[in-house]
C-alpha cells in the first residue's frame, strides 16, 4: 500500500517536471532545437498510433508511414492549392488517412500477421511512388510554401505552433490512455491474445480491427498534417520505409501495449542522437541495435523493465522516498 502511494506520487512528480520542461522549452531554445522537439512530439503521435495496432490489437503494420504521408500531402495540398484554413486541412488530413486506413484494412485485415505486415509495407511504398510520379502532387519536387496556421488575423509563429502541437499530443495521448483502460482496450487485448477465444465470446474481430485501424490511421494523418505545416515543405522521399521502421523501433523500445512506452521511445530515439553530437552519425545503427536488444532483453520495452530489480537504482529510490517521508512528517 505504502509503496503504491509513493509510486503514484513519483509518477506525478515526473509528469509535472516533464510538463514544465516542455512548456518552457521555447523560451530557452529556438530554431533548430525547437524543431527537433516538434519532430519528437510528432513521432509521439506516430508511435502511439502504431502502438494501438501493434501493442494493443496485435496487428503488425509496416506501412504506417503511408498514412502519415497521405495526411501530410492532404494537408499540404489543401493549404497551398485551395488556401484552406489550417483547421480544415488538419481534420481533412486525419479523415483521408483514416479513409485510406479503412480501405487498406478492409482488403488486408483478413491476411495473417506476417502477410499483413508485408502488404501494408507494399501499399505504403505504392503510395509514396505514386505521389512521387504524379504531377498533381508536384512529383519529385514536393510541395513548398505550406503556410503556418492563422489566428487573430495573423500567421502563427513557430513558438505558438509548438504549443499547438503540444496541446494536440497531450489530448491524443490522454484519449488513447482512456481507450486502453476501457472495455474496448480489453477487447483489443483479447484479439491480440487469442482470436478464436475472443470470437467465441462474441467479439466481432473484423469490426474491432477495422475500428482500431481507422483510429490509428486518423492519428497518423493528423501527425502528417502537423509535420507538413511545421516544416512548410514536404517531399515524398521523406516518407520511405525507414520511417515506418523508426516508428516500430520507438514502439518496441518504449514498450508495446503501454501508453507511456511509445511516448518515451519516441522522445528518446528522436532526441538522443540529436543532442549527443557524436551519436548522430550512428543514428540508424542505434535504431537497429536498440530494436534487437530490446526484443531480446526487454521484450516489454523500457517501461516494462523492473528498474527496482537493479540494486543501485532501488537504493537510490529508497533514499529519495525516506527523505520525502521525513519532510512530510
Amino acid at each position: 500500500m505504502e509503496r503504491k502511494r509513493y509510486s503514484k506520487y513519483n509518477r506525478l512528480l515526473v509528469a509535472l517536471a516533464a510538463l514544465i520542461i516542455v512548456l518552457i522549452l521555447p523560451y530557452v531554445f529556438s530554431g533548430y532545437i525547437l524543431q527537433i522537439a516538434v519532430y519528437a512530439y510528432i513521432y509521439i503521435l506516430l508511435a502511439s498510433s502504431l502502438n494501438l495496432l501493434i501493442g494493443y490489437a496485435g496487428i503488425f503494420s509496416m506501412g504506417h508511414v503511408g498514412f502519415y504521408c497521405v495526411g501530410a500531402y492532404t494537408s499540404a495540398l489543401l493549404a497551398t492549392k485551395l488556401d484552406m484554413p489550417f483547421v480544415i486541412c488538419f481534420f481533412a488530413a486525419g479523415l483521408l488517412a483514416a479513409l485510406a486506413g479503412a480501405f487498406v484494412g478492409f482488403v488486408a485485415l483478413r491476411l495473417n500477421d506476417i502477410f499483413f505486415a508485408f502488404a501494408t509495407m507494399g501499399l505504403s511504398e505504392v503510395i509514396r511512388i505514386v505521389i512521387q510520379n504524379s504531377d498533381f502532387t508536384n512529383g519529385t519536387l514536393g510541395v513548398t510554401g505550406i503556410p503556418l496556421p492563422e489566428w487573430f488575423g495573423r500567421s502563427m509563429n513557430r513558438e505558438e505552433f509548438y504549443y499547438l502541437v503540444v496541446v494536440i499530443v497531450v489530448i491524443v495521448v490522454v484519449l488513447i490512455s482512456k481507450l486502453a483502460k476501457s472495455h474496448t482496450g480489453r477487447t483489443l487485448a483479447m484479439i491480440r491474445d487469442d482470436q478464436n477465444a475472443a470470437a467465441s465470446l462474441g467479439v466481432n474481430i473484423f469490426k474491432y480491427k477495422m475500428m482500431v485501424m481507422v483510429l490509428s490511421c486518423f492519428i497518423a494523418g493528423l501527425a502528417g498534417s502537423l509535420y507538413a505545416t511545421f516544416i512548410q515543405y514536404i517531399n515524398a522521399s521523406n516518407f520511405g520505409i525507414t520511417v515506418s521502421i523508426n516508428i516500430i523501433a520507438m514502439v518496441a523500445i518504449g514498450g508495446m501495449g503501454t501508453v507511456s512506452g511509445p511516448v518515451i521511445g519516441a522522445i528518446l530515439l528522436q532526441l538522443l542522437p540529436e543532442y549527443i553530437r557524436f551519436l548522430s552519425n550512428f543514428r540508424q545503427i542505434i535504431y537497429g541495435a536498440a530494436i534487437v536488444i530490446s526484443i531480446m532483453f526487454a521484450p516489454k520495452g523500457l517501461v516494462g523493465i523492473r528498474w527496482r530489480r537493479i540494486k543501485l537504482i532501488d537504493q537510490l529510490c529508497c533514499l529519495f522516498e525516506t527523505k520525502l517521508n521525513n519532510e512530510e512528517s
Binding site: I54, G58, F60, M62, V107, A108, L111, D113, I114, F115, A117, F118, A119, M121, G122, L123, E125, V126, I129, V130, Q132, N133, N196, I241, I245, I248, A249, A252, N281, F282, Q284, I285, Y287, G288, A289, A290, I291, V292, I295, M296, P299
Partner: protein, 292 residues
C-alpha cells in the same frame, strides 16, 4: 520482336536473382513459419564480400561465389541463434521486429564502414556471347543464368534427396511430430536458416556482378521484391518460390515497357498485394489449415 526477346533475356537473368532470394524466404518460412526480414541485408553482405574479394584479393568470380556462400551461411547461422533461438516462445511479431532490427543494423553498419555511396564492382565475362537479330546476350548473363540454375538444382537435390533435406521437409510439415520422430528440430531449423542465408548471399554476389556495383542499401528493394516473388509463386513451396522469382523478373522487365520507369518498383508490390488478397497461397502453394 527484338525488344521482346531482349526483355525476356534480361527478365530471366534478373529473375534468377529473385528466385534465389525467394528460395531463401521459402526455406525459412517452411521450417519456422516466419519471415526473415534481413534476407535483403544478407544479400547485400554477399555482394559486399565479393566486392571486397575482388578489390583486395583477386578478381575471381568463382572465389567470390565461395566466399559469399560462406559469409551468408555464417551470418544467417549467427542470426538464427540470436534472433530466433534466443527468443523462442516470443510472439511472431516480436521475431519479425527483431529481424527488422538486424536488417537495419547490418545495412547501417556497412554504410558506416564503406560509405553510403555506390561503389563500382569489377566486371566479369564482359564479352558478348552472341547477338542474334539485335538481341544481345553477354557471357556474364549466360554465366549468371547457368550458375543460378545449377544452384537451384543442387538445392532441390539437397532438399529432396538427402537426409537433412528430408528432415527439413518433415519439420516444415509438422514441427511437433518431427520432434517426436527423433528429428533434431533445432539443428534442422538452424541448417535451413543458414542455407537460406547462403542463397541470399550468392544472389547478392550475382546482383553486384550484374549491376556492376555495390552499396550498403542495395539489399532493400531486391529483398522486398523477392518476398513478393515468393508470395506470388507460393511461399510454402520451393518450386513455387523459384517460379515466382523468374516470373517476377520477367514481369518487371516487361512492365517497365508499359509503364514509365518511375513506376518500376511499384509493379512487384502490386503483384504481391493482388496475390495476397486473391490467392495468398501463391501459384503453387497449398493452404495450411490451422487446427483449433
Amino acid at each position: 520482336m527484338t525488344m521482346f526477346f531482349q526483355q525476356l533475356v534480361n527478365g530471366i537473368t534478373q529473375g534468377g536473382l529473385y528466385a534465389l532470394l525467394a528460395i531463401a524466404y521459402s526455406l525459412v518460412y517452411g521450417v519456422m513459419g516466419l519471415v526473415n526480414f534481413s534476407t535483403g541485408s544478407i544479400y547485400m553482405l554477399g555482394a559486399m564480400s565479393s566486392w571486397l574479394v575482388c578489390k583486395y584479393i583477386i578478381e575471381s568470380f568463382w572465389l567470390s561465389v565461395l566466399i559469399s556462400f560462406g559469409v551468408g551461411f555464417v551470418v544467417a547461422f549467427v542470426l538464427e541463434k540470436i534472433a530466433f533461438s534466443a527468443i523462442r516462445g516470443a510472439t511472431r511479431i516480436a521475431s519479425l521486429i527483431c529481424t527488422i532490427g538486424f536488417s537495419q543494423f547490418i545495412n547501417e553498419a556497412v554504410a558506416l564502414i564503406f560509405g553510403k555511396a555506390t561503389q563500382g564492382m569489377s566486371t566479369f565475362f564482359d564479352q558478348e556471347l552472341f547477338a542474334f537479330l539485335g538481341v544481345h546476350i553477354s557471357v556474364m548473363q549466360a554465366v549468371l543464368v547457368v550458375t543460378v540454375i545449377i544452384i537451384l538444382v543442387a538445392l532441390q537435390f539437397f532438399v529432396y534427396r538427402t537426409r537433412i533435406g528430408l528432415a527439413i521437409r518433415t519439420v516444415s510439415m509438422d514441427e511437433k511430430t518431427a520432434g517426436l520422430m527423433g528429428i533434431n528440430v533445432n539443428r534442422t531449423i538452424s541448417i535451413a536458416f543458414s542455407l537460406s542465408g547462403a542463397c541470399a548471399a550468392i544472389a547478392g554476389l550475382m546482383g553486384a556482378v550484374y549491376y556492376r556495383s555495390f552499396s550498403a542499401y542495395m539489399g532493400w528493394m531486391p529483398g522486398i521484391k523477392s518476398f513478393s516473388a515468393a508470395v506470388f509463386g507460393g511461399l510454402s513451396s520451393m518450386p513455387g518460390a523459384i517460379l515466382g522469382g523468374y516470373l517476377m523478373g520477367i514481369i518487371e522487365n516487361f512492365g517497365v515497357q508499359v509503364f514509365s520507369t518511375g513506376y518500376r518498383d511499384v509493379i512487384s508490390f502490386i503483384v504481391m498485394i493482388v496475390f495476397l488478397l486473391v490467392r495468398p497461397q501463391g501459384i503453387l502453394g497449398s493452404k495450411k489449415k490451422v487446427k483449433l
